[in-house]
Symmetry: C3
Amino acid sequence: APATAPKACNLTEFVGTANGHTVGLVIANVDPLLHEQMKIDKKYRSIGIVGGRTGAGPQIFAADEAVKATNSEVVLIELPRDTEGGGGHGSLIVFGAEDVSDARRAVEVTLSELDRTFGDVYGTPAGHLEFQYTARASFALNKAFGAPIGQAFGITVGCPAAIGVLMADTATKAATVVPVAYATPGNGGTSYSNEAIFMFSGDSGAVRQAIRAARDVGKQVLGTLDPAPVASATKPYI
Amino acid sequence: APATAPKACNLTEFVGTANGHTVGLVIANVDPLLHEQMKIDKKYRSIGIVGGRTGAGPQIFAADEAVKATNSEVVLIELPRDTEGGGGHGSLIVFGAEDVSDARRAVEVTLSELDRTFGDVYGTPAGHLEFQYTARASFALNKAFGAPIGQAFGITVGCPAAIGVLMADTATKAATVVPVAYATPGNGGTSYSNEAIFMFSGDSGAVRQAIRAARDVGKQVLGTLDPAPVASATKPYI
Amino acid sequence: APATAPKACNLTEFVGTANGHTVGLVIANVDPLLHEQMKIDKKYRSIGIVGGRTGAGPQIFAADEAVKATNSEVVLIELPRDTEGGGGHGSLIVFGAEDVSDARRAVEVTLSELDRTFGDVYGTPAGHLEFQYTARASFALNKAFGAPIGQAFGITVGCPAAIGVLMADTATKAATVVPVAYATPGNGGTSYSNEAIFMFSGDSGAVRQAIRAARDVGKQVLGTLDPAPVASATKPYI
């Protein structure tokens, strides 16, 4: 209903919004004074900006599709401690491009992928689970997680972190995967979120099998902490 | 109604409360064992303490007025990651003074300024914006943000951080200001808050003009994420 | 009512749940690939995992009882910034054991102690207070806080942090205690929580006396910020 819908925005810089209180913006010519503060390559006059209150994995995996599809580079990925009272992260992603149309397109692709990449996010009042998968990691996933470029890559995330530790064990036992990194609240790249995150590559079938096994276990454990259903934020895709 | 009002407090150390779940306290003679743990100058026997759940900018700009008005020094400014489920900071500010009346007065001034300094804080369920301005920065703003003492100084803050990045660009383009610092969730002084913060000095008119332009843009973008009005927490002052 | 109760869990790895959205898990044989990522001593094939959304002190003091009572070691204690929108921490604790029955028992003991160790946690919408005491600190408290092993040890925690600073002063003045550490939002071991934490040892009576004096002051101050009663989460034990 128009009475309660968010306001429209006619700013040139506004691209759109998506799940997780995510907003997409573009700046055609970053002011030189700000450009210097941002410490990004001078050749990128244009930047695309994607930031959300909830979710880092969904936005980063979506941004990975954007760098594959456009002539842009991910120049910044930062993970605030957020999720609006939840135990995870928000996100700030900046794309650099020499042409504003590329920066805008990168943001558009990212926003359009978020409905899919929120598909294996499962939340209850007690915590959340997240799973992401790609058949072929590109530069955003390499920058954020050290994913080997061109390989299948997946992550399992559990909150409270204890669940994530168990899911990491389940994943490694379920299929032949190669650990890329392991993060906990005080180590490995979280911003003190209450998550344990396991990142791994391998052949495509193995990565998916590992994720599915971890997902099955994680949903059972998260379900013991709160009676709410452990339901997908959109529609599972893995 | 008395039945639901917060309790009164007869402790000598209690000074008062204010916006943002902020409390003001004073200790006439800090215990030597604690004094050593706090690592503050031994000459300050008395300390004033101001801490809030929501807001760092409002308390820091208020504290700047307090150091101008009293014989006290700001010996500690720390920014917890808080805002009670929001994407920003809380605050802990400690004033040191040789005389308890100065410490108490610094706290009183800070608390009394908070109604004003919350005036350009705008929140919705999706995020928040904050703007602060002073015609003449003093030692609290120098300590917290590196503001040049005696000069006009302002900050723009946007959450989710993407909005803050855009507002920084808007501010630099709107007037001739001198960037002092730029902070994002993982760099520059935030405590992993979901904010981008731009800090700048310049002549008084330019600083205000930059803030007003950024505020106009920020309100439009924040309004796209949630239907709630983007309203001042008290009354705009800039 | 069964319709709203959390789901049961038949996983071998599931031990139980407790206050603070805390879950306890055990892994009999950690996968070697994960074991390496976790960087824990190879002799510990089995691990116990305890993690909660709310509370670090309660889980750490409970884990201290577990290491006293079992043949296990605390190999990891990390403090996410959590409490589900509150100003404090959650927790992730990992026990290592050579035998799975020891790891499981450590988790069971920890979970069983949580009802007690949440007894001196007091929360309102404006903040929280926490107090913990043990007559004899063991290895978990030594690892987490540097508590001298075998001695009486206590902590006082206040949120917003300003209250915690005052309580630290009250505690040191109330009895002859030995400061072990002092933590604030940006220093000393918090994960940017909005807390000031004071940790101290001493003779058993002095530690309790210091805590009780701080508790009395803290409850009065926290009560000024919100009309909600400053009530124990379970039942006070100190």
